[in-house]
Symmetry: C2
DNA sequence: ACCTGAACACCGTTCAAGT
DNA sequence: ACCTGAACACCGTTCAAGT
């Protein structure tokens, strides 16, 4: 369980890799209605994150919500980051793990559903995309979902060596897209401006700079439609890989596409 | 220039949309060797971010590096976030804008180069992916690069309505991938553990949970190769779109793929 | 075993004051 | 025009002490 880093003051890489003293895993058997435990604290953290956002989430506010002193929480959790990891995996429990062996299941449609489900989650809990860029996201719910999607992907006929690349294309894209969308929403709402107004201002500002007049009219908000188009793009790319034609075929081909002429040593 | 939000205490959506009083844009004409200005402050910020990371970057430390009081910086910059936006666009100036009209240029190869260049940038300045999820990234360098890549994309023959979806697929993917990679690197190095050790620990931990034994052996670090595979996947998807076959064709087709059976109203 | 209070070493930012 | 010092309202976290 340990990641071998538990010397003196070293940090842990993830809550999910902690050596938790048995003593603290809840002394008496079942749930008591009185007193705190990790589940109650995590649930309160999710609630606070949902209502206040990541920036205003603090241990002191959380403790206040729980009607307890700020430092009580530290009995159950080593530090704030651990709590954020717990909260992240808790909401990821909302994801339905796709069943690759389901009757008549189409892998394309299952991938679409998984991608939209993940995006829906990141929209319902806007703070989550902020934590995804900081933590490992290897909690039980996240891993279950990821491994489930991986099994679906393998049913497409994609060679196993390419499965993780395709998974990366799918998940990194959904995550990146959600993160960008979220930062637009947050910034605009903090400024009390509609996303449309903000974009109009941006187009005007760019139009004033001579170097961008070519193309500035193409600037507009992250459109609803773009997500679908981009997703189909990724899925079509996976499909191309299954046909062995153009597509994600990394090695052993006449014209190896990876890496094609390194532009700079450190970039590839 | 203004985004219409400059009432009383409202925040701005971006530094790039500020109304900057002419008085503060540098009084006398050219550069002086003495005294501060935005360029010097931004350069110092990039230096500090590169050496210390986003978490340890503070206005007080920056001011100390500049040999000045913490509050002097606020004469040139409204708040810390503005400075981070300036630093982000400053490093994005390292990106070479592709020339869509170049002789004998292949759009696929140009897209590959752009993607690798962006990833290289995010690796040289690991803090940058952390800011990309928080700010609008609409500075002059970022916009120049993005519009340049967009022109390359259009030369593929992809219909204009799909260009932004394809751009989103490409950029969101590179950004998401870099962010995940960065969080692994940072977490492992903070714990003083190699990425490999960390993954071994994770696999062991997952193996101990009965629900993951199926597939746990598939867990391994974000591989170097995955990025290339995923990138080819996106490019193949774009190419599929240009052939009008399967691929990112959003509307007006026999079997509309977007949206296919909404799983839940809020998710699509 | 669980919770508290006081304290430490920081933050970003405001504001009145200096030159 | 530019820079400072003191202050405000917070942080995460440690630690000794309570029950």
């Amino acid at each position: 369980m340990s990641d071998g880093s538990r010397t003196s003051r070293m940090r842990r890489t993830s809550v999910w890799l902690e050596d938790r003293p048995e003593a603290r895993r809840k002394a008496s058997g079942a749930s008591q209605t009185e007193g705190l435990d990790r589940e109650k604290i995590t649930a309160a953290a999710v609630r606070l994150l949902d209502t206040e956002g990541l920036a205003r989430f603090s241990m002191r506010r959380l403790a206040a919500d729980l009607g307890v002193t700020a430092m009580s929480v530290y009995w159950y959790v080593d530090r704030k980051d651990d709590l954020l990891e717990l909260a992240l995996d808790a909401v990821e429990g909302e994801l339905e793990v796709p069943d690759a062996e389901a009757e008549g299941a189409d892998w394309r449609e299952q991938l679409r559903q998984a991608a939209f489900a993940l995006r829906g989650l990141l929209r319902r809990h806007p703070w989550a995309s902020g934590t995804l860029g900081s933590f490992l996201n290897v909690g039980p719910s996240a891993m279950g979902f990821q491994l489930g999607v991986r099994r679906v992907l393998l049913r497409s006929g994609l060679p196993e060596q390419q499965a993780d690349g395709a998974l990366a294309a799918l998940f990194s894209f959904v995550y990146g897209h959600a993160a960008v969308e979220e930062s637009w929403n947050r910034r605009c709402s903090e400024a009390g401006v509609s996303s449309q107004d903000c974009f109009d201002a941006l187009r005007t500002a760019l139009g004033a700079r001579p170097e961008y007049t070519a193309g500035a009219e193409a600037v507009y908000p992250v459109a609803e439609r773009d997500f679908g188009v981009a997703l189909e793009c990724v899925i079509a790319g996976i499909e191309a890989g299954t046909r062995g034609g153009r597509g994600p075929a990394p090695q052993g081909r006449a014209t190896p596409v990876i890496p094609p002429q390194p532009p700079s040593p450190e970039d590839r």
